[in-house]
Symmetry: C2
Subunit: 204 residues, 2 copies
């Protein structure tokens, strides 16, 4: 058991994976269950995940990820997607919170109305929300994996159009990140130095 602060400090972006160590579909599902504990605006859960873990699919993904070997060596590469038009699916996403008595009917209606007003005609906000939700889920997934003794690497260098085509993403699904997860091989980098807090934090 590792304290979350220690997990945060020890997480690195790991380039090298033990290709012999795989993850079961159940283990991958457990990671996604944790990832989706992340928050999202209105609890819209506007995300989707494709677990690329078969030899065939990894080979399909490789050139689209600019031939980065970790796509073959890691147990899985998740295509982490955010979805556009979150207002359309919001009633379905929120209904369980009504059913268990967390949200009352007035709050439910207020949120659905607010989301429609905010997103409907605002393509920039829809894209921001897709990136924001997917990034929070991906971050949660990285820390969950680290806590289970795995390592990960988030990648933004890939052919987004090619990935969408090769993995039959829906038109509203934006691939926000590729995320390798698996067990570390030797020679991974330590966590790279960060700016001093004083450079990035001000007080008001």
């Amino acid at each position: 058991m590792t304290d979350v602060s220690e997990t945060i400090k020890s997480r690195t972006s790991a380039n090298h994976y033990d290709p012999a160590r795989k993850l079961s579909d159940e283990a991958l599902a457990q990671l996604i269950e944790l990832a989706t504990c992340a928050p999202s605006a209105f609890n819209a859960q506007n995300w989707k995940f494709v677990a690329v873990r078969s030899d065939e699919a990894q080979t399909r993904l490789l050139p689209l990820a600019y031939n980065q070997p970790k796509v073959l060596d890691a147990a899985v590469t998740f295509i982490v997607c955010g979805t556009l038009q979150p207002h359309l699916a919001l009633p379905g996403a929120l209904q369980p919170a009504v059913d268990v008595g967390i949200l009352d009917e007035a709050t439910f209606n207020g949120w659905v109305g607010a989301a429609n007003g905010m997103y409907k005609d605002n393509a920039t906000l829809q894209r921001d929300e897709a990136v924001r939700s997917a990034a929070m889920a991906a971050m949660t997934l990285m820390l969950a994996a680290q806590g289970k003794g795995m390592v990960s690497y988030p990648m933004i260098g890939f052919d987004a159009v090619g990935v969408a085509d090769a993995f039959a993403l829906q038109a509203n699904e934006i691939p926000v990140m590729l995320l390798t997860v698996g067990y570390a091989a030797a020679a991974n980098w330590p966590q790279k130095p960060r700016k001093d807090v004083a450079q990035v934090l001000s007080f008001a």
Copy 2:
């Protein structure tokens, strides 16, 4: 000490804070130090944080956050910003990784060149990167706070232009989220139900 999986499962978006419990500037800096352990593309660390914690600043922020009382009651509301044009500041952000011997000169030059090529003429990618990096840092901050016995609430409902003006953000600083952090009062919601994993995960 709490396992990260337990922290992830127990984190909630908390509306109600004990207004009597404050956080020292040092405690706020420790949270930001952990938040900035999050990854960012090329380790650009393209984020900034404003800790709104004085009575005057909280009152200034309140109407811009549509009068959500938690802005006054929480110990702090972080204005979590992502920054545009990450390629311009990248050499400075990466130099410490060269200095400690993690990145060699060729990798440093390769990354700086790649970042210039990717971001320079691509406003959408710059904005995506600002949102993505800020969201990952914010998620890390939420889990760090939860692990320290605090609660948090990420907010996208605020007047972004007004916040930028009232807190003198630079032109390249995009307020991606407001994030309240503090100690819980009574009557907060439990974590709202999530979709079944099978609804959001597919295998390839």
